[in-house]
Symmetry: C2
């Protein structure tokens, strides 16, 4: 049994944490990408988790296994996206594992019920707040109210399966950001303002514009990131920072990114998580 | 500007009609198929709607144009699915038109907001109750509470992009069924029972089993349809009737369907409506 989950890059967000992790999450907006995580599950003597072929602690996926697996399983996740740079890799692994375990053990969970387990695993491990609900849907997802899939409220902005360029310079620790009160205050203020503004006119262009404002206002951007997005804009493209990674995504202006690192290209995924 | 919308075949349903069409709809469960409708919009002297290259009255799509278009437009829909046999063709045309107009006139509607206009167009024309909200999502969609996209409540049953066979014998008028009180009473009773039963164990196999029960209990099946689905089951497959068409869909048992008409094959669409 195999499941597939898209990447998810957040453009802007505001954290909404509560005691109950299924009510916690974030509001904001982000984009699902065709770079996917494929997770398979099979019976085993002891539970083992492999990430790109290497045995891994994988605490978020392990949390899902502990909640859903009836017997020991071997979980294998193959990631097409970078890890730790804001592509929602931990959420993708956990969400794919939840779908695959649901199928393997014939648990009879709906998509939202399976995904809610992965959402709680992310929130409990402080590795993410809004990736799972967006990855479960696909496309350009607006997170209107926080919470697990089926509890939180989302909508989409219609969008073609456009080409997206990205450059990754390095990781940013989601946990470090989420536990920094001063930083989180700036993030939550500018994230809420960006969401309110987006809802007046929810289009891809406005998503990019407001993500760029958030990048500056939140104080999360490195000088490298600011230089890169300005270079794209001077070349007539739109760019913003990937939340949370020291990384840039862009529509257009491909060549202008070359001096900032290796430019990779993918597409918007209109498809959300599902069995493979 | 072009938009793509999958087919949607309902396995079972119960109508939930109210005065407000955005609160009206149906509960039940159905499957999105890769047979799609592609709709393009361009400026024109006078508003014209073409269906598979032929000028058409297309009242459902016209309703959407009247609500959303700021100027006269030429709307062209190419349908891969049969018309009038339960594949949600009218919903697909209306939904694709709403997405395409939103992009063409840069209206800034979210996916749910654009889709809600198509839902209301279907309900007002009595051509459908639950196709649009499912087509907007993709996959195997459970309609938990009726209403327009963003108002009604849905979930998905995880499912691979499996091959689906189908045979169409002829159309059934949705309007005729929806306006027959005795028939609707039987439909609503068996549809609600099927949904309650499905939610105890939401899997593809149970969806097929409960759709088959509904096919018999609702009184909608022709003898042809009953014979066809029994033939598939004797060959080890699963089949049910497409609501509302004199048509059968099946997983497995392909050869056993051959004596019932031309067997066509498509796939489950995990992707919902979006820009092309």
């Amino acid at each position: 049994m195999r499941a597939w989950v898209p990447s998810h890059i957040t453009g802007f967000f505001a954290a909404r944490q509560q005691d109950d992790p299924s009510l916690s999450g974030s509001i904001g907006c982000g984009l699902c990408l065709a770079l996917g995580a494929t997770t398979s599950v099979e019976g085993a003597e002891d539970t083992e988790i492999f990430l790109n072929g290497v045995a891994s602690v994988a605490p978020v996926t392990r949390y899902v296994v502990e909640k859903l697996a009836k017997e020991p399983v071997r979980v294998k996740t193959e990631l097409e996206m970078p890890f730790g740079s804001g592509f929602g890799a931990s959420g993708a692994g956990a969400l794919g594992c939840a779908y695959a375990l649901n199928a393997h053990f014939d648990l009879g969970l709906t998509a939202n019920q399976a995904a809610a387990v992965a959402h709680v695993a992310e929130v409990a491990n402080r590795t993410g707040l809004g990736d799972v609900i967006a990855q479960n849907e696909g496309g350009l997802v607006v997170r209107l109210e926080p919470g697990a899939p089926g509890t939180g409220r989302i909508d989409r902005i219609p969008v073609s399966p456009l080409k997206v360029d990205y450059v990754v310079r390095g990781p940013i620790s989601t946990r470090d950001v989420l536990t920094d009160p001063a930083l989180m205050k700036a993030i939550n203020q500018s994230g809420l303002a960006a969401l309110k503004e987006l809802l007046k006119r929810p289009t891809l262009v406005d998503f990019m514009r407001l993500s760029r404002c958030f990048t500056i206002q939140s104080g999360l951007a490195s000088q490298w990131a600011i230089d890169a997005l300005e270079a794209v804009e001077c070349a007539g493209g739109m760019a913003s920072m990937i939340m949370l990674g020291d990384a840039i995504f862009a529509f257009g202006g491909h060549d202008s990114l070359k001096s900032f690192g290796e430019v990779q290209t993918t597409f918007i995924s209109q498809r959300g998580a599902n069995l493979d």
